[in-house]
Structures are given as structure tokens and as C-alpha cells.
């Protein structure tokens, strides 16, 4: 029987294009210290440190976990670095959670970060295999043809992506930590922004951000002594599949469907749209909101765009998505998945400030990465299972 585990501390940096005021160690330290303050514990109380980030090639720093561990109070403690491409933030939380759930450790710190101002993600993601032609400029170049495939098969109106972008960018205005806060956001502003990777527009695309996020996780015997509201982890799930194989459904990969089914089974959820109060989903390009509403089995195949269209995913809708402004508003890649998991926890703890969903008790945190091939998710709840 696994140990019940809770999120007792959450820390985030302010997300910005360039955090010139902080080095990489400073960035992770800032998020970790805030998580410790939230958890009311000290560095000495932490049993193990789990660090996640995207590929080393981004910043060009080999094995950053080695020199960052000391900034995270990791001396003489177990330390692990996690990597699963863009989903890494989510996987980092799941690895940390599994260390507590397994009974190996009582209290674990997990931190994920990216310093995109010191990196070149488009270049790093455009490295192709030897002897082949590089044609895919960054993640957008990879995903744009899949978005086109989704539009073709679902018959979604072409402005669905614009509507997602407007909604997420409006939500970001409620989040003081968000990187992109566009006061003049409007349908026309997004619609008239340049096409980068047709059919994906500039304002339907995530920014490049600097930032870090940290969580403190505790087992039940420690967490139960606390009097404040906690986020209890009801279920976690990770799935993967190869980038390319014949007949692979890249728009709706088997791995996301398997992930969703198993997550809900573990969490005892039979009607996800009704039982989950809000979700923070990895949407780096606006169209991935309707795609993952289907991929997470929140709605039927080819119907995800209707949720956006009908306002179901708005902050006051029946299934709010990306209350924080999402990846579209803050994107320190390695941390982006953990920020989703953290926002789900903030919601059920009732500490999400201006972007709080009233009465949220059960929330979904979600991340994906690679060529839509890594999926990490969790369900957190204000009550124990």
C-alpha cells in the first residue's frame, strides 16, 4: 500500500523574458526558498532533491544538476535529475511523489527550471539526425502540421485557436507571476498577429521565459499534523510512445489516451468533466487546448473545440482550463510542466489568488513533451482519498 502524499509547499519565481538579476543557481534557489517558506520548513528538513529541466543543449550547460544541487541544499542527500522533454516538469513531480509514496523518503523537494534567455531552443530543437535534411524549425514547426491534421479531422472553426489564446492571455492578467501580460489583448490582436508556422500565429504561441518552480511533498504522517489546506495526490500517471512509427496517430496518440484512462482509474474518476473542478493543461500552441480536452477524455473525439467555443474552458466556465494563463503566458520549458502541476495544487488549496476557481476541490495537472509522445499527469484534491 502506497503512502498517501501531499503537496505542502509551492514556490515560483516571477516569469520573465530575461532574469538578468539571477544566475541559474539563483533562479532555482528563489523558487525552492519560496516553497520552503510555504511549507514552513528548512533545508535540513528535506530528505532528497529532485531536479528537472529540458535538454542540456538549450543552455549549453552539461549536467546542470551537478552545480545546481548545492544551491538546493542537496549536499550529502540523494539527488536525481529527471528528463522527459517538455513534460519533464510533470515527470519531476511524479518522480518526487513516488519517492514519498514508496516510503523511501518522508519529505522531498522537487524543482524544475529553464533559463531561455541563456539558451536557443529553436536551434536546439532543429538538430536533425545525421544525413537527413533539417526542415522543422523548432517545436512550432513540428506541431503545426499536426494542428492542421486536427482541424481537418474535427472540422473545427479556424478561429478556435485564436479564442484559446485570448482566453489564456486574459487569465494571465490575473496572475502577477505570468511573463506575458498583454493589457490590450483582443480577438483582433491575436488574429492579426503574424503567421509563424501556418496555421499557428505569433500570439497563439508560447513565449520564451526564464523561471523556476518548486514543490515540497510530504507523507501522510507529517502532512496530517498541518492545519492549513493541502493538496493530496490522488493519482499520478506517465506514458510514452515512439516519435515515429507506421500508422501512429500523432494528433491523438495512444499514449495520451492510455494515460488518461489509467489516471482516472487510479483516482476513482468515472466522469472526468463532471468530477474534476479545473485543469491546468500543457498548451504551448493554442490549438492544443481542444486537442488535449479530447486526449484527456474530457470530451468526445473531434468535439474539443466546442468546449472552447462554448466558453466551457473559461475561468467561469464549467471546466476551467489554464487559469494561470498557461504555457502561452509563461514558458520556462523545463519548469512548464511543474507549473501546471503546481497550479492544480494551488487551486485545491484555495491559494490561487485572482485566478482562483471558486470552490475547486479536485484538479488535473498535465504536461506533454517530445513529438506529442511523453505524457505526465496528476490529480490533486483538497481531501484525502
Amino acid at each position: 500500500m502506497a503512502e498517501l502524499t501531499a503537496v505542502v509547499g509551492i514556490g515560483q519565481t516571477k516569469y520573465e523574458a530575461k532574469r538578468l538579476d539571477l544566475s541559474m543557481p539563483g533562479l532555482v534557489r528563489d523558487a525552492a526558498e519560496k516553497a520552503l517558506v510555504d511549507a514552513d520548513c528548512s533545508w535540513a528538513d528535506i530528505d532528497a532533491v529532485i531536479l528537472g529541466k529540458a535538454p542540456d543543449l538549450f543552455e549549453g550547460v552539461m549536467m546542470p544538476e551537478l552545480f545546481l544541487n548545492e544551491a538546493l541544499g542537496g549536499a550529502y542527500k540523494p539527488m536525481l535529475r529527471v528528463h522527459t522533454a517538455g513534460s519533464v516538469g510533470g515527470s519531476t513531480a511524479i518522480v518526487a511523489a513516488s519517492m514519498v509514496q514508496s516510503g523511501v523518503h518522508d519529505r522531498v523537494l522537487c524543482v524544475a527550471f529553464e533559463k531561455q534567455s541563456e539558451s536557443n531552443a529553436i536551434w536546439a530543437l532543429t538538430i536533425s539526425a545525421p544525413f537527413s535534411l533539417a526542415t522543422v524549425a523548432g517545436a512550432g514547426g513540428y506541431f503545426a502540421p499536426l494542428v492542421r491534421g486536427y482541424i481537418r479531422r474535427s472540422g473545427a472553426p479556424e478561429d478556435t485557436g485564436i479564442r484559446v489564446a485570448v482566453k489564456d492571455r486574459e487569465n494571465a492578467l490575473r496572475n502577477p507571476l505570468a511573463h506575458l501580460r498583454l493589457e490590450d489583448i483582443s480577438f483582433d490582436l491575436v488574429a492579426n498577429s503574424p503567421m509563424l508556422w501556418d496555421p499557428i500565429r505569433y500570439l497563439e504561441t508560447c513565449p520564451s521565459s526564464d523561471g523556476a518552480c518548486a514543490l515540497v511533498l510530504e507523507n501522510e504522517s507529517l502532512a496530517s499534523k498541518r492545519s492549513n489546506k493541502l493538496a493530496w495526490i490522488h493519482a499520478t500517471e506517465m506514458r510514452s510512445e515512439p516519435t515515429m512509427f507506421s500508422g501512429r496517430d500523432q494528433v491523438m496518440p495512444q499514449a495520451t489516451l492510455d494515460n488518461a484512462k489509467n489516471l482516472y482509474k487510479k483516482a476513482g474518476i468515472t466522469k472526468p468533466r463532471e468530477e474534476i473542478d479545473c485543469a491546468e493543461i500543457y498548451v504551448p500552441f493554442s490549438w492544443f487546448e481542444p486537442m488535449w480536452m479530447e486526449g484527456m477524455l474530457i470530451t468526445e473525439p473531434n468535439q474539443g473545440w466546442k468546449m472552447t467555443y462554448e466558453g466551457a474552458t473559461a475561468l467561469d466556465g464549467d471546466f476551467p482550463v489554464n487559469m494561470s494563463g498557461g504555457v502561452l503566458s509563461s514558458n520556462p520549458i523545463g519548469a512548464s510542466g511543474l507549473i501546471r502541476f503546481a497550479e492544480a495544487a494551488r487551486q485545491v488549496r484555495g491559494i490561487a489568488g485572482e485566478h482562483q476557481v471558486d470552490g475547486a476541490r479536485k484538479a488535473l495537472g498535465h504536461a506533454y513533451g517530445g513529438g506529442s509522445q511523453y505524457f505526465s499527469t496528476w490529480i490533486v484534491d483538497s481531501a484525502k482519498p
Binding site: 535534411l133 522543422v136 524549425a137 514547426g141 491534421g149 507506421s246
Partner: protein, 175 residues
């Protein structure tokens, strides 16, 4: 600052934080292609497009890496000759520069299924962006023979051919 003044240390321009430093790193790698990829590359060096068949489901992989990513089995030595004609299953018009892509913007990135293959090849299409569409029939335009090397870049780009569009149901599983 106030601490330093108390210590009598005069602030100067050298007290500015170093906030950003450029540190270029470069490295050339050797790469062993292995038996299967070598066979594929020797083929394309001669203008031949060699696929390989998965023994589990019979599907033809191009390019082949010698094993099936889904079933974790090897393909053996047998190859399948493929046409340089194919169908565009999906595409993007790219207006974002990348330092390692030597193409003028905008360019059309296409996912092509070659006739006889069951996997997609990522390449570029030479066409007016307004004309490109899913199901479009295309053919490879090759570099001059004397410039052929062991690379899929021997194909300069794909170009539309005068054939009716493929039916969506025929290629939709490759999107």
C-alpha cells in the same frame, strides 16, 4: 552599496554585476550509421529509395533504421524499392528562421508518404504557399547526380505533379 560605503570602498563602474557573458562552445562529432542506415544511405547515394518491411505488420518503413520502433523487432536484410512520387499528408508554411536551416522564408515543410511506403518523410515543397494542400501529389526533384552524397538532402525538394489529389481516407492514418 551602503555596506561598501561604510567600509570606505568607493563604488565604481567595476561594481556593476556581470549579468551576461557569451561563452561559445563548438564540437564536431563522429557518427556510426550502423549496418541498416548504411544500406539506406548507400542506396540514396545512387538515387535509390530503399525501404524495409516490418515482419510483424508488413508495413514499409522509409527511411528505415533497421528495426521497428513499435514492435521492437529487426527488419533483416531485405529492402523494398520505392518510387520518388508521393502524397502530402500534412504541411506547414514556415516563417520562422532557424540558424541551422539554410532555406529562404517562407518555405513549405511537408510530411510526405512515398508511394509504397507506410511512414512519413519530412521534407520541403517548392510551390506557391497558396497552392499547397493535403492530398497533393508530388515528386522528388534531385540534385545534379555529381552532387549526390549519403544524405536525404540529395532530394532538393518535392514539386507538384499533374495527378489528381489522393483521397483523404487513403492517407489520414499518417497525419
Amino acid at each position: 552599496m551602503s555596506d561598501r560605503q561604510m567600509d570606505g570602498d568607493k563604488p565604481s563602474e567595476h561594481d556593476e554585476d556581470v549579468t551576461l557573458l557569451r561563452v561559445p562552445v563548438s564540437l564536431d562529432y563522429d557518427y556510426s550509421a550502423g549496418v541498416s542506415a548504411s544500406r539506406f544511405l548507400r542506396g540514396i547515394e545512387q538515387g535509390k529509395l530503399l525501404g524495409q518491411r516490418c515482419p510483424v505488420d508488413g508495413r514499409v518503413y522509409f527511411p528505415s533504421r533497421g528495426s521497428c520502433p513499435q514492435h521492437a523487432v529487426t527488419f533483416g536484410d531485405e529492402t523494398v524499392d520505392l518510387s520518388d512520387k508521393g502524397t502530402i499528408v500534412t504541411f506547414s508554411i514556415v516563417r520562422v528562421p532557424s540558424a541551422n536551416i539554410p532555406l529562404e522564408l517562407p518555405y513549405i515543410a511537408v510530411n510526405v508518404v512515398l508511394d509504397g511506403a507506410d511512414t512519413i518523410l519530412m521534407h520541403v515543397l517548392d510551390a506557391n504557399p497558396e497552392d499547397v494542400h493535403m492530398g497533393m501529389r508530388v515528386q522528388a526533384v534531385w540534385k545534379p547526380r555529381e552532387e549526390w552524397t549519403t544524405s536525404t538532402a540529395n532530394i532538393l525538394y518535392f514539386r507538384a505533379i499533374d495527378e489528381p489529389d489522393a483521397d483523404y481516407d487513403q492517407y489520414k492514418e499518417h497525419i
